[in-house]
Protein backbone atom coordinates (compact mmCIF):
# COMPACT_ATOMS: atom_id res chain seq x y z
CA UNK A 1 0.00 0.00 0.00
CA UNK A 2 2.31 2.70 -1.22
CA UNK A 3 1.19 6.21 -0.31
CA UNK A 4 3.35 7.58 -3.05
CA UNK A 5 0.47 8.42 -5.36
CA UNK A 6 1.48 11.99 -6.13
CA UNK A 7 4.48 11.30 -8.34
CA UNK A 8 4.36 8.22 -10.54
CA UNK A 9 1.16 8.96 -12.37
CA UNK A 10 2.52 9.09 -15.90
CA UNK A 11 1.88 5.42 -16.56
CA UNK A 12 -1.60 5.56 -15.06
CA UNK A 13 -3.40 7.76 -17.54
CA UNK A 14 -5.81 4.93 -18.23
CA UNK A 15 -7.36 5.77 -14.88
CA UNK A 16 -8.24 9.27 -15.84
CA UNK A 17 -11.87 9.14 -16.91
CA UNK A 18 -14.16 9.02 -13.91
CA UNK A 19 -16.24 5.88 -14.60
CA UNK A 20 -13.13 3.93 -15.44
CA UNK A 21 -11.45 5.24 -12.33
CA UNK A 22 -14.38 3.93 -10.30
CA UNK A 23 -14.18 0.54 -11.92
CA UNK A 24 -10.41 0.10 -11.96
CA UNK A 25 -9.23 1.77 -8.80
CA UNK A 26 -11.84 2.55 -6.19
CA UNK A 27 -13.94 -0.56 -6.47
CA UNK A 28 -11.12 -3.08 -5.90
CA UNK A 29 -9.58 -0.83 -3.27
CA UNK A 30 -12.92 -0.52 -1.55
CA UNK A 31 -13.43 -4.27 -1.53
CA UNK A 32 -9.91 -4.76 -0.21
CA UNK A 33 -10.39 -2.24 2.57
CA UNK A 34 -13.73 -3.76 3.51
CA UNK A 35 -12.23 -7.22 3.89
CA UNK A 36 -9.32 -5.83 5.90
CA UNK A 37 -11.23 -3.50 8.17
CA UNK A 38 -14.41 -5.45 8.83
CA UNK A 39 -12.86 -7.60 11.60
CA UNK A 40 -11.74 -4.43 13.36
CA UNK A 41 -15.20 -3.00 13.10
CA UNK A 42 -16.70 -6.19 14.47
CA UNK A 43 -14.17 -6.19 17.28
CA UNK A 44 -14.98 -2.59 18.16
CA UNK A 45 -18.75 -2.92 18.22
CA UNK A 46 -18.62 -6.19 20.12
CA UNK A 47 -16.46 -4.56 22.78
CA UNK A 48 -19.14 -1.97 23.53
CA UNK A 49 -22.31 -4.06 23.06
CA UNK A 50 -24.24 -5.14 26.15
CA UNK A 51 -24.50 -8.92 26.59
CA UNK A 52 -28.22 -9.10 25.87
CA UNK A 53 -27.71 -7.43 22.48
CA UNK A 54 -24.74 -9.68 21.76
CA UNK A 55 -26.71 -12.85 22.34
CA UNK A 56 -30.05 -11.79 20.85
CA UNK A 57 -31.01 -12.71 17.31
CA UNK A 58 -33.22 -9.66 16.88
CA UNK A 59 -32.18 -6.27 15.64
CA UNK A 60 -29.27 -5.22 13.46
CA UNK A 61 -26.12 -7.18 14.39
CA UNK A 62 -23.92 -4.50 12.79
CA UNK A 63 -24.96 -1.74 15.12
CA UNK A 64 -25.13 -1.02 18.86
CA UNK A 65 -28.36 0.25 20.38
CA UNK A 66 -27.22 0.98 23.92
CA UNK A 67 -23.42 1.06 24.17
CA UNK A 68 -21.88 -0.02 27.47
CA UNK A 69 -18.48 0.10 29.17
CA UNK A 70 -19.25 -2.99 31.25
CA UNK A 71 -16.87 -5.23 29.28
CA UNK A 72 -14.07 -2.74 29.51
CA UNK A 73 -14.62 -2.36 33.22
CA UNK A 74 -14.57 -6.14 33.72
CA UNK A 75 -11.43 -6.36 31.64
CA UNK A 76 -9.57 -3.65 33.50
CA UNK A 77 -10.68 -4.36 37.05
CA UNK A 78 -11.61 -8.06 37.23
CA UNK A 79 -8.69 -9.49 35.27
CA UNK A 80 -4.95 -8.93 35.27
CA UNK A 81 -5.25 -7.08 31.92
CA UNK A 82 -3.08 -4.05 32.90
CA UNK A 83 -0.34 -6.44 34.00
CA UNK A 84 -0.58 -8.42 30.76
CA UNK A 85 -0.27 -5.18 28.85
CA UNK A 86 2.77 -4.17 30.87
CA UNK A 87 4.38 -7.60 30.43
CA UNK A 88 3.81 -7.45 26.71
CA UNK A 89 5.38 -4.01 26.51
CA UNK A 90 8.42 -5.04 28.56
CA UNK A 91 8.96 -8.29 26.69
CA UNK A 92 8.43 -6.80 23.22
CA UNK A 93 10.59 -3.75 23.78
CA UNK A 94 13.54 -5.59 25.32
CA UNK A 95 13.40 -8.50 22.87
CA UNK A 96 13.20 -6.08 19.94
CA UNK A 97 16.04 -3.98 21.24
CA UNK A 98 18.40 -6.90 21.82
CA UNK A 99 17.49 -8.54 18.55
CA UNK A 100 18.07 -5.34 16.61
CA UNK A 101 21.46 -4.78 18.21
CA UNK A 102 22.54 -8.35 17.47
CA UNK A 103 21.13 -8.22 13.94
CA UNK A 104 22.91 -4.99 13.07
CA UNK A 105 26.25 -6.51 14.01
CA UNK A 106 25.51 -9.82 12.28
CA UNK A 107 24.16 -8.25 9.10
CA UNK A 108 27.03 -5.80 8.82
CA UNK A 109 29.62 -8.49 9.38
CA UNK A 110 28.05 -10.83 6.83
CA UNK A 111 27.67 -8.11 4.22
CA UNK A 112 30.81 -6.08 4.59
CA UNK A 113 33.63 -7.85 6.41
CA UNK A 114 35.61 -10.02 4.04
CA UNK A 115 35.75 -13.36 5.82
CA UNK A 116 35.48 -16.79 4.32
CA UNK A 117 32.13 -18.43 4.86
CA UNK A 118 30.17 -15.16 5.05
CA UNK A 119 27.70 -16.44 2.46
CA UNK A 120 27.19 -19.72 4.29
CA UNK A 121 26.60 -17.95 7.59
CA UNK A 122 24.00 -15.76 5.92
CA UNK A 123 22.30 -18.81 4.51
CA UNK A 124 22.40 -20.64 7.84
CA UNK A 125 20.72 -17.70 9.54
CA UNK A 126 18.01 -17.76 6.94
CA UNK A 127 17.48 -21.50 7.41
CA UNK A 128 17.19 -20.93 11.15
CA UNK A 129 14.31 -18.60 10.38
CA UNK A 130 12.56 -21.34 8.44
CA UNK A 131 12.31 -23.66 11.46
CA UNK A 132 8.74 -23.08 12.66
CA UNK A 133 8.20 -22.07 16.32
CA UNK A 134 5.60 -24.82 16.58
CA UNK A 135 8.47 -27.32 16.36
CA UNK A 136 11.10 -25.28 18.12
CA UNK A 137 9.08 -24.68 21.28
CA UNK A 138 9.54 -28.26 22.47
CA UNK A 139 13.36 -28.26 22.73
CA UNK A 140 13.28 -24.62 23.80
CA UNK A 141 10.94 -25.51 26.65
CA UNK A 142 13.52 -27.94 27.94
CA UNK A 143 16.24 -25.29 27.72
CA UNK A 144 14.08 -22.72 29.48
CA UNK A 145 13.26 -25.20 32.21
CA UNK A 146 16.86 -26.21 32.84
CA UNK A 147 17.94 -22.59 33.01
CA UNK A 148 15.34 -22.10 35.72
CA UNK A 149 13.62 -19.44 33.69
CA UNK A 150 10.23 -21.12 33.50
CA UNK A 151 7.36 -18.73 34.26
CA UNK A 152 9.49 -15.58 34.06
CA UNK A 153 9.49 -12.71 31.58
CA UNK A 154 13.11 -13.46 30.88
CA UNK A 155 12.07 -16.79 29.33
CA UNK A 156 10.22 -14.85 26.62
CA UNK A 157 12.83 -12.10 26.28
CA UNK A 158 15.48 -14.73 25.61
CA UNK A 159 13.48 -16.98 23.29
CA UNK A 160 11.89 -14.34 21.05
CA UNK A 161 15.26 -13.44 19.51
CA UNK A 162 15.39 -16.99 18.08
CA UNK A 163 13.00 -15.84 15.39
CA UNK A 164 13.57 -12.08 15.59
CA UNK A 165 17.32 -12.12 14.94
CA UNK A 166 17.19 -14.17 11.71
CA UNK A 167 14.37 -12.05 10.43
CA UNK A 168 15.97 -8.68 11.27
CA UNK A 169 19.37 -9.84 10.05
CA UNK A 170 17.96 -10.70 6.66
CA UNK A 171 16.08 -7.47 6.36
CA UNK A 172 19.13 -5.43 7.38
CA UNK A 173 21.52 -7.37 5.14
CA UNK A 174 19.46 -6.29 2.15
CA UNK A 175 19.51 -2.75 3.39
CA UNK A 176 23.23 -2.60 4.11
CA UNK A 177 23.91 -4.04 0.67
CA UNK A 178 22.28 -0.99 -0.88
CA UNK A 179 24.76 1.37 0.80
CA UNK A 180 27.55 2.07 -1.71
CA UNK A 181 30.89 0.48 -0.89
CA UNK A 182 32.74 3.68 -1.75
CA UNK A 183 31.18 5.50 1.18
CA UNK A 184 32.80 3.09 3.58
CA UNK A 185 36.10 3.08 1.71
CA UNK A 186 36.07 6.84 1.73
CA UNK A 187 35.44 6.83 5.47
CA UNK A 188 38.25 4.33 5.89
CA UNK A 189 40.62 6.72 4.12
CA UNK A 190 39.23 9.60 6.16
CA UNK A 191 40.52 7.72 9.19
CA UNK A 192 37.42 6.05 10.57
CA UNK A 193 37.60 2.75 12.42
CA UNK A 194 35.17 -0.07 11.62
CA UNK A 195 33.08 0.92 14.59
CA UNK A 196 33.00 4.56 13.55
CA UNK A 197 32.05 3.56 10.02
CA UNK A 198 29.17 1.55 11.43
CA UNK A 199 27.92 4.21 13.80
CA UNK A 200 28.62 7.36 11.80
CA UNK A 201 28.02 6.25 8.22
CA UNK A 202 26.14 2.99 7.92
CA UNK A 203 23.58 3.26 10.71
CA UNK A 204 22.49 6.84 9.95
CA UNK A 205 21.95 5.78 6.35
CA UNK A 206 20.13 2.63 7.40
CA UNK A 207 17.61 4.36 9.66
CA UNK A 208 14.61 3.42 7.46
CA UNK A 209 15.81 -0.18 7.44
CA UNK A 210 16.30 -0.14 11.21
CA UNK A 211 12.82 1.25 11.71
CA UNK A 212 11.22 -1.40 9.49
CA UNK A 213 13.13 -4.15 11.24
CA UNK A 214 12.21 -2.65 14.61
CA UNK A 215 8.51 -2.39 13.81
CA UNK A 216 8.47 -5.90 12.44
CA UNK A 217 10.28 -7.33 15.44
CA UNK A 218 8.04 -5.41 17.81
CA UNK A 219 4.87 -6.63 16.11
CA UNK A 220 6.07 -10.22 15.99
CA UNK A 221 6.90 -10.17 19.71
CA UNK A 222 3.69 -8.35 20.57
CA UNK A 223 1.56 -10.97 18.85
CA UNK A 224 3.67 -14.01 19.73
CA UNK A 225 1.53 -16.82 21.11
CA UNK A 226 3.12 -20.26 21.29
CA UNK A 227 6.18 -19.46 23.41
CA UNK A 228 4.16 -17.17 25.66
CA UNK A 229 1.59 -19.89 26.14
CA UNK A 230 4.17 -22.59 26.87
CA UNK A 231 6.83 -20.86 28.94
CA UNK A 232 4.60 -18.84 31.26
CA UNK A 233 1.79 -20.02 33.47
CA UNK A 234 1.11 -17.46 36.24
CA UNK A 235 -1.53 -14.93 35.37
CA UNK A 236 0.57 -11.90 36.33
CA UNK A 237 3.42 -12.92 33.96
CA UNK A 238 1.21 -13.59 30.92
CA UNK A 239 1.30 -11.50 27.79
CA UNK A 240 -1.76 -9.98 26.17
CA UNK A 241 -2.60 -12.57 23.50
CA UNK A 242 -2.22 -15.44 25.91
CA UNK A 243 -3.89 -13.71 28.83
CA UNK A 244 -6.94 -12.71 26.86
CA UNK A 245 -7.46 -16.15 25.36
CA UNK A 246 -6.75 -18.21 28.47
CA UNK A 247 -8.57 -16.14 31.08
CA UNK A 248 -11.55 -14.76 29.18
CA UNK A 249 -12.60 -18.12 27.83
CA UNK A 250 -13.80 -20.26 30.73
CA UNK A 251 -14.57 -23.76 29.56
CA UNK A 252 -17.10 -23.19 26.82
CA UNK A 253 -18.10 -19.76 28.06
CA UNK A 254 -16.70 -17.00 25.82
CA UNK A 255 -16.74 -13.56 27.40
CA UNK A 256 -17.07 -12.06 23.92
CA UNK A 257 -17.36 -8.46 25.02
CA UNK A 258 -14.24 -8.43 27.20
CA UNK A 259 -12.39 -10.68 24.79
CA UNK A 260 -12.95 -8.20 21.99
CA UNK A 261 -12.18 -5.21 24.19
CA UNK A 262 -8.90 -6.88 25.14
CA UNK A 263 -8.06 -7.54 21.52
CA UNK A 264 -8.99 -4.00 20.55
CA UNK A 265 -6.80 -2.31 23.17
CA UNK A 266 -4.08 -4.82 22.44
CA UNK A 267 -3.92 -3.84 18.79
CA UNK A 268 -4.00 -0.09 19.39
CA UNK A 269 -0.31 0.38 20.39
CA UNK A 270 0.88 -1.48 17.30
CA UNK A 271 -1.45 0.49 15.05
CA UNK A 272 -0.20 3.68 16.67
CA UNK A 273 3.46 2.82 16.06
CA UNK A 274 2.76 1.86 12.47
CA UNK A 275 0.99 5.11 11.71
CA UNK A 276 3.86 7.02 13.25
CA UNK A 277 6.59 5.42 11.18
CA UNK A 278 4.73 4.51 8.03
CA UNK A 279 6.83 6.75 5.79
CA UNK A 280 10.08 5.21 6.94
CA UNK A 281 8.53 1.81 6.93
CA UNK A 282 7.56 1.95 3.27
CA UNK A 283 10.92 3.28 2.18
CA UNK A 284 12.63 0.64 4.32
CA UNK A 285 10.80 -2.12 2.51
CA UNK A 286 11.18 -0.77 -1.00
CA UNK A 287 13.94 1.78 -0.97
CA UNK A 288 17.63 2.04 -0.88
CA UNK A 289 20.13 4.76 -0.19
CA UNK A 290 19.98 7.51 -2.72
CA UNK A 291 22.79 9.97 -2.96
Amino acid sequence: MSRDTGTDTAGMTFLESTPKKMLNAYLPLGAFLFVLLFPFYWMAITAFKPDNELLSRDGNPFWINSPTLAHVKKLLFDTAYPEWMWNTVVVSVTATFFSLAASVLAAYAIERLRFSGAKQVGLAIFLAYLVPPSILFIPLASVVFQLGLFDTRLALILTYPTFLIPFCTWLLMGYFRSIPFELEECALIDGATRWQILTKIVLPLAVPGLISAGIFAFTLSWNEFIYALTFVSSSEIKTLPVGVVTELVEGDVYHWGSLMAGALFGSLPVAFIYSFFVEYYVSGMTGSVKE
Partner: protein
Protein backbone atom coordinates in the same frame (compact mmCIF):
# COMPACT_ATOMS: atom_id res chain seq x y z
CA UNK B 1 54.00 16.22 0.13
CA UNK B 2 55.93 13.16 -0.78
CA UNK B 3 57.13 11.04 -3.62
CA UNK B 4 55.52 7.69 -4.36
CA UNK B 5 57.57 4.68 -5.38
CA UNK B 6 55.98 1.59 -6.82
CA UNK B 7 58.33 -1.37 -7.24
CA UNK B 8 57.47 -4.68 -8.85
CA UNK B 9 53.90 -4.47 -7.63
CA UNK B 10 51.73 -7.48 -8.38
CA UNK B 11 48.09 -8.18 -7.73
CA UNK B 12 46.08 -11.37 -7.88
CA UNK B 13 42.35 -11.69 -7.34
CA UNK B 14 42.09 -15.35 -6.44
CA UNK B 15 44.03 -17.15 -9.14
CA UNK B 16 43.74 -14.34 -11.68
CA UNK B 17 46.77 -12.14 -12.22
CA UNK B 18 45.64 -8.55 -12.59
CA UNK B 19 48.93 -6.66 -12.25
CA UNK B 20 52.11 -8.37 -13.44
CA UNK B 21 54.84 -6.35 -11.76
CA UNK B 22 54.50 -2.59 -12.11
CA UNK B 23 57.29 -0.07 -11.51
CA UNK B 24 56.57 3.66 -11.32
CA UNK B 25 58.56 6.48 -9.75
CA UNK B 26 56.42 9.46 -8.94
CA UNK B 27 58.38 12.54 -8.00
CA UNK B 28 57.31 14.84 -5.21
CA UNK B 29 54.79 17.47 -6.30
CA UNK B 30 54.08 16.06 -9.75
CA UNK B 31 50.81 15.24 -11.42
CA UNK B 32 50.97 11.68 -12.75
CA UNK B 33 48.23 10.16 -14.85
CA UNK B 34 47.60 6.43 -15.12
CA UNK B 35 45.83 5.84 -18.40
CA UNK B 36 44.74 2.74 -20.25
CA UNK B 37 41.71 0.94 -21.59
CA UNK B 38 38.96 -0.14 -19.23
CA UNK B 39 39.87 -3.20 -17.15
CA UNK B 40 43.65 -2.80 -17.43
CA UNK B 41 44.10 -2.51 -13.66
CA UNK B 42 44.45 1.25 -13.13
CA UNK B 43 41.88 1.44 -10.37
CA UNK B 44 43.30 -1.64 -8.74
CA UNK B 45 46.75 -0.06 -8.63
CA UNK B 46 45.34 3.19 -7.25
CA UNK B 47 43.39 1.33 -4.60
CA UNK B 48 46.54 -0.52 -3.61
CA UNK B 49 48.28 2.82 -3.12
CA UNK B 50 45.31 3.93 -1.03
CA UNK B 51 45.37 0.77 1.06
CA UNK B 52 41.96 -0.47 -0.04
CA UNK B 53 43.40 -3.56 -1.73
CA UNK B 54 46.10 -5.82 -0.41
CA UNK B 55 49.41 -5.89 -2.20
CA UNK B 56 50.13 -9.39 -3.49
CA UNK B 57 53.77 -8.73 -4.33
CA UNK B 58 56.29 -5.91 -4.57
CA UNK B 59 56.50 -2.73 -2.57
CA UNK B 60 54.83 0.67 -2.42
CA UNK B 61 56.53 3.55 -0.64
CA UNK B 62 55.11 6.96 0.13
CA UNK B 63 57.95 9.31 0.93
CA UNK B 64 60.51 6.93 2.40
CA UNK B 65 57.91 4.93 4.31
CA UNK B 66 56.98 1.46 3.14
CA UNK B 67 53.18 1.35 3.25
CA UNK B 68 52.41 -2.22 2.19
CA UNK B 69 51.04 -3.14 5.57
CA UNK B 70 49.68 0.21 6.72
CA UNK B 71 45.92 0.77 6.88
CA UNK B 72 44.58 3.59 4.66
CA UNK B 73 44.33 6.13 7.44
CA UNK B 74 48.00 5.88 8.28
CA UNK B 75 49.12 6.49 4.70
CA UNK B 76 48.23 10.18 4.74
CA UNK B 77 46.48 10.16 1.39
CA UNK B 78 43.15 11.50 0.16
CA UNK B 79 41.10 9.94 -2.58
CA UNK B 80 38.44 11.31 -4.91
CA UNK B 81 36.10 8.58 -6.15
CA UNK B 82 34.39 8.30 -9.50
CA UNK B 83 30.90 8.66 -8.01
CA UNK B 84 32.18 11.20 -5.45
CA UNK B 85 31.16 9.05 -2.44
CA UNK B 86 29.84 12.04 -0.52
CA UNK B 87 28.16 11.07 2.73
CA UNK B 88 24.47 11.61 1.84
CA UNK B 89 23.37 12.31 5.41
CA UNK B 90 25.89 15.08 6.06
CA UNK B 91 25.98 18.65 4.85
CA UNK B 92 28.79 19.84 2.62
CA UNK B 93 30.47 21.32 5.68
CA UNK B 94 30.26 18.07 7.64
CA UNK B 95 31.44 16.08 4.65
CA UNK B 96 34.56 18.18 4.50
CA UNK B 97 35.04 18.24 8.27
CA UNK B 98 34.53 14.50 8.78
CA UNK B 99 38.16 13.45 8.51
CA UNK B 100 39.31 16.32 10.70
CA UNK B 101 36.72 15.46 13.33
CA UNK B 102 37.89 11.86 13.35
CA UNK B 103 41.43 13.18 13.82
CA UNK B 104 40.11 15.04 16.88
CA UNK B 105 41.24 18.46 15.72
CA UNK B 106 39.70 21.36 17.61
CA UNK B 107 36.69 23.18 16.29
CA UNK B 108 38.46 26.42 15.40
CA UNK B 109 41.09 24.60 13.31
CA UNK B 110 38.41 22.56 11.55
CA UNK B 111 36.36 25.66 10.74
CA UNK B 112 39.41 27.46 9.41
CA UNK B 113 40.45 24.56 7.19
CA UNK B 114 36.94 24.02 5.84
CA UNK B 115 36.61 27.74 5.16
CA UNK B 116 39.91 27.78 3.29
CA UNK B 117 38.95 24.79 1.13
CA UNK B 118 35.53 26.27 0.49
CA UNK B 119 37.16 29.48 -0.63
CA UNK B 120 39.59 27.73 -2.98
CA UNK B 121 36.77 25.78 -4.59
CA UNK B 122 34.08 28.49 -4.44
CA UNK B 123 31.86 26.34 -2.24
CA UNK B 124 31.13 29.02 0.37
CA UNK B 125 27.44 29.35 -0.47
CA UNK B 126 26.85 25.61 -0.46
CA UNK B 127 28.26 24.65 2.93
CA UNK B 128 24.89 23.94 4.54
CA UNK B 129 23.43 21.98 1.66
CA UNK B 130 23.17 18.23 1.44
CA UNK B 131 24.82 16.34 -1.44
CA UNK B 132 21.45 15.55 -3.01
CA UNK B 133 20.86 19.29 -3.41
CA UNK B 134 24.00 19.78 -5.51
CA UNK B 135 24.67 19.48 -9.23
CA UNK B 136 27.23 17.03 -10.57
CA UNK B 137 29.97 19.63 -10.86
CA UNK B 138 29.33 20.92 -7.36
CA UNK B 139 29.48 17.41 -5.91
CA UNK B 140 32.75 16.93 -7.72
CA UNK B 141 34.13 20.06 -6.11
CA UNK B 142 32.94 18.99 -2.66
CA UNK B 143 34.71 15.67 -3.17
CA UNK B 144 37.89 17.59 -3.93
CA UNK B 145 37.29 19.92 -1.01
CA UNK B 146 37.10 16.91 1.25
CA UNK B 147 40.51 15.87 -0.02
CA UNK B 148 42.03 19.34 0.28
CA UNK B 149 41.06 20.01 3.91
CA UNK B 150 43.17 17.09 5.03
CA UNK B 151 46.28 18.49 3.42
CA UNK B 152 47.54 14.99 2.63
CA UNK B 153 50.86 13.84 1.21
CA UNK B 154 49.21 12.47 -1.93
CA UNK B 155 45.94 13.02 -3.78
CA UNK B 156 44.48 10.02 -5.56
CA UNK B 157 41.81 10.50 -8.22
CA UNK B 158 39.88 7.61 -9.77
CA UNK B 159 38.18 8.80 -12.96
CA UNK B 160 36.71 11.78 -11.13
CA UNK B 161 35.27 13.41 -14.23
CA UNK B 162 33.64 10.50 -15.98
CA UNK B 163 30.19 11.16 -14.51
CA UNK B 164 30.10 14.73 -15.82
CA UNK B 165 28.85 15.94 -19.17
CA UNK B 166 31.40 16.83 -21.83
CA UNK B 167 31.45 20.57 -21.29
CA UNK B 168 31.74 20.40 -17.53
CA UNK B 169 34.46 17.80 -17.89
CA UNK B 170 36.62 20.21 -19.84
CA UNK B 171 36.02 22.93 -17.28
CA UNK B 172 36.80 20.68 -14.31
CA UNK B 173 39.90 19.44 -16.08
CA UNK B 174 41.46 22.87 -15.98
CA UNK B 175 40.13 23.45 -12.50
CA UNK B 176 41.90 20.35 -11.17
CA UNK B 177 45.07 21.28 -12.97
CA UNK B 178 44.96 24.81 -11.62
CA UNK B 179 44.36 23.43 -8.15
CA UNK B 180 47.44 21.28 -8.48
CA UNK B 181 49.53 24.20 -9.63
CA UNK B 182 48.37 26.09 -6.56
CA UNK B 183 48.74 23.36 -3.94
CA UNK B 184 51.59 21.38 -5.53
CA UNK B 185 50.47 18.19 -3.78
CA UNK B 186 51.70 14.99 -5.40
CA UNK B 187 48.74 13.69 -7.39
CA UNK B 188 47.97 10.38 -9.06
CA UNK B 189 45.10 10.52 -11.48
CA UNK B 190 43.43 7.53 -13.12
CA UNK B 191 41.52 7.87 -16.37
CA UNK B 192 40.71 5.90 -19.49
CA UNK B 193 40.52 9.11 -21.52
CA UNK B 194 43.79 9.87 -23.27
CA UNK B 195 42.84 13.52 -23.79
CA UNK B 196 42.48 13.98 -20.05
CA UNK B 197 45.83 12.28 -19.63
CA UNK B 198 47.54 14.44 -22.24
CA UNK B 199 46.12 17.72 -21.02
CA UNK B 200 46.54 17.18 -17.29
CA UNK B 201 49.58 15.04 -16.69
CA UNK B 202 53.16 16.08 -16.01
CA UNK B 203 53.87 12.44 -16.53
CA UNK B 204 51.73 9.76 -18.12
CA UNK B 205 51.84 6.04 -17.42
CA UNK B 206 50.15 4.03 -20.16
CA UNK B 207 48.91 0.65 -18.96
CA UNK B 208 47.48 -2.37 -20.73
CA UNK B 209 46.42 -5.71 -19.26
CA UNK B 210 48.21 -5.13 -15.98
CA UNK B 211 51.50 -4.03 -17.52
CA UNK B 212 53.06 -0.66 -18.15
CA UNK B 213 53.46 0.02 -21.85
CA UNK B 214 55.30 3.32 -21.53
CA UNK B 215 56.01 6.09 -19.07
CA UNK B 216 56.87 9.64 -20.03
CA UNK B 217 55.77 13.23 -20.51
CA UNK B 218 52.73 13.80 -22.74
CA UNK B 219 54.80 14.99 -25.69
CA UNK B 220 57.35 12.21 -25.33
CA UNK B 221 54.55 9.70 -25.63
CA UNK B 222 53.08 11.58 -28.55
CA UNK B 223 56.30 12.02 -30.48
CA UNK B 224 58.14 8.85 -29.52
CA UNK B 225 55.68 6.10 -28.67
CA UNK B 226 57.46 2.97 -27.54
CA UNK B 227 55.16 0.65 -29.41
CA UNK B 228 52.16 0.44 -31.66
CA UNK B 229 49.71 0.25 -28.73
CA UNK B 230 50.86 3.55 -27.23
CA UNK B 231 51.05 5.13 -30.69
CA UNK B 232 47.44 4.19 -31.35
CA UNK B 233 46.15 4.97 -27.87
CA UNK B 234 47.63 8.45 -27.49
CA UNK B 235 46.37 11.13 -29.86
CA UNK B 236 42.99 11.80 -31.38
CA UNK B 237 42.16 11.12 -34.15
CA UNK B 238 44.48 8.19 -33.70
CA UNK B 239 47.57 7.29 -35.71
CA UNK B 240 47.21 5.56 -39.09
CA UNK B 241 48.87 2.17 -39.44
CA UNK B 242 49.79 0.75 -42.86
CA UNK B 243 51.31 -2.72 -43.25
CA UNK B 244 54.32 -2.95 -45.61
CA UNK B 245 57.76 -4.35 -46.26
CA UNK B 246 60.98 -2.60 -45.20
CA UNK B 247 63.39 -1.88 -48.11
CA UNK B 248 66.89 -0.91 -47.08
CA UNK B 249 69.15 0.45 -49.85
CA UNK B 250 72.10 2.78 -50.38
CA UNK B 251 69.94 5.85 -50.83
CA UNK B 252 67.93 5.31 -47.63
CA UNK B 253 65.05 3.47 -46.06
CA UNK B 254 61.70 2.87 -47.68
CA UNK B 255 58.51 1.02 -46.97
CA UNK B 256 56.72 -0.72 -49.76
CA UNK B 257 52.98 -1.04 -49.27
CA UNK B 258 50.96 -3.97 -50.60
CA UNK B 259 49.99 -2.12 -53.79
CA UNK B 260 53.60 -1.21 -54.53
CA UNK B 261 53.45 2.36 -53.21
CA UNK B 262 56.88 3.40 -51.94
CA UNK B 263 57.08 5.61 -48.84
CA UNK B 264 60.16 7.26 -47.36
CA UNK B 265 60.78 5.97 -43.85
CA UNK B 266 62.63 7.67 -41.00
CA UNK B 267 66.29 6.96 -41.91
CA UNK B 268 67.37 6.23 -38.31
CA UNK B 269 64.93 3.31 -37.94
CA UNK B 270 66.35 -0.12 -37.24
CA UNK B 271 65.16 -3.30 -38.97
CA UNK B 272 66.47 -5.46 -41.77
CA UNK B 273 65.77 -5.42 -45.49
CA UNK B 274 62.65 -7.37 -46.38
CA UNK B 275 61.22 -7.33 -42.85
CA UNK B 276 57.42 -6.91 -42.60
CA UNK B 277 56.67 -3.67 -40.72
CA UNK B 278 53.82 -1.33 -39.81
CA UNK B 279 54.20 2.22 -41.05
CA UNK B 280 52.64 4.69 -38.62
CA UNK B 281 51.77 8.28 -39.37
CA UNK B 282 49.46 10.72 -37.59
CA UNK B 283 46.49 12.25 -39.44
CA UNK B 284 47.91 15.78 -39.11
CA UNK B 285 51.21 14.69 -40.64
CA UNK B 286 49.65 13.78 -43.97
CA UNK B 287 49.80 16.40 -46.72
CA UNK B 288 47.84 16.50 -49.92
CA UNK B 289 49.86 15.83 -53.08
CA UNK B 290 48.80 18.41 -55.69
CA UNK B 291 46.78 17.14 -58.63
CA UNK B 292 49.11 15.88 -61.43
CA UNK B 293 52.33 15.93 -59.39
CA UNK B 294 54.88 13.34 -60.40
CA UNK B 295 55.72 11.94 -56.96
CA UNK B 296 53.05 9.63 -55.60
CA UNK B 297 52.05 9.56 -51.94
CA UNK B 298 49.40 7.09 -50.77
CA UNK B 299 46.46 6.81 -53.16
CA UNK B 300 43.33 6.91 -50.98
CA UNK B 301 39.65 6.86 -51.71
CA UNK B 302 37.64 9.47 -49.78
CA UNK B 303 34.90 7.93 -47.63
CA UNK B 304 33.62 10.75 -45.41
CA UNK B 305 34.39 14.46 -45.06
CA UNK B 306 33.96 16.05 -41.63
CA UNK B 307 34.63 19.79 -41.70
CA UNK B 308 34.65 21.28 -38.19
CA UNK B 309 35.34 24.84 -39.25
CA UNK B 310 38.73 24.94 -37.60
CA UNK B 311 40.02 21.99 -39.60
CA UNK B 312 38.85 19.36 -42.04
CA UNK B 313 38.83 15.70 -41.11
CA UNK B 314 38.87 13.24 -44.01
CA UNK B 315 38.27 9.53 -43.57
CA UNK B 316 39.74 7.53 -46.46
CA UNK B 317 40.54 3.97 -47.37
CA UNK B 318 43.70 2.57 -48.94
CA UNK B 319 43.64 -1.08 -50.00
CA UNK B 320 41.05 -1.84 -47.33
CA UNK B 321 43.00 -0.04 -44.58
CA UNK B 322 41.27 2.88 -42.85
CA UNK B 323 43.23 6.07 -43.08
CA UNK B 324 42.38 9.47 -41.67
CA UNK B 325 43.82 12.88 -42.41
CA UNK B 326 43.32 16.30 -40.86
CA UNK B 327 43.94 19.46 -42.86
CA UNK B 328 44.09 23.00 -41.57
CA UNK B 329 42.91 24.20 -44.95
CA UNK B 330 39.35 23.72 -46.07
CA UNK B 331 38.86 21.07 -48.73
CA UNK B 332 35.82 19.72 -50.45
CA UNK B 333 36.50 16.27 -51.88
CA UNK B 334 33.68 14.27 -53.33
CA UNK B 335 33.16 10.97 -51.49
CA UNK B 336 34.49 8.19 -53.71
CA UNK B 337 37.13 10.35 -55.34
CA UNK B 338 40.81 9.46 -54.99
CA UNK B 339 43.35 11.74 -53.32
CA UNK B 340 47.04 11.22 -52.74
CA UNK B 341 48.42 11.66 -49.23
CA UNK B 342 52.10 12.22 -48.51
CA UNK B 343 53.30 11.31 -44.97
CA UNK B 344 55.90 13.49 -43.29
CA UNK B 345 58.98 11.30 -43.03
CA UNK B 346 60.43 12.99 -39.93
CA UNK B 347 57.40 12.24 -37.74
CA UNK B 348 56.55 8.80 -39.11
CA UNK B 349 57.33 5.61 -37.20
CA UNK B 350 58.02 2.01 -38.08
CA UNK B 351 56.77 -0.79 -35.84
CA UNK B 352 57.73 -4.43 -35.87
CA UNK B 353 54.83 -6.62 -37.01
CA UNK B 354 55.81 -9.37 -34.54
CA UNK B 355 56.39 -7.43 -31.32
CA UNK B 356 54.65 -4.13 -31.98
CA UNK B 357 57.79 -2.33 -30.73
CA UNK B 358 58.91 0.80 -32.51
CA UNK B 359 61.93 0.18 -34.72
CA UNK B 360 64.12 2.94 -33.33
CA UNK B 361 67.84 3.29 -33.83
Amino acid sequence: MASVTIQGVKKKFGATDILHGVDIDIADGTFTVLVGPSGCGKSTLLRMIAGLEEITGGEIRIGDKRVNDLPPKERDIAMVFQNYALYPHMTVRDNMAFALMLAKQDKATIDAKVARAAEILALGALLDRYPRQLSGGQRQRVAMGRAIVRDPQVFLFDEPLSNLDAKLRVAMRSEIKELHQRLKTTSIYVTHDQIEAMTMGDKIVVMRDGRIEQTGSPLELYDHPANQFVAGFIGSPSMNFLPGILRRSADGLRVELADGTQLDAPPQSSGVDGQPVIFGTRPEHLTLVPEGAAHGGIPSRVVVMEPSGMDTFVACRHEGVELSAVFRERHDFAPGSTIHLQPDMKTAHLFSVDTGQRLAA
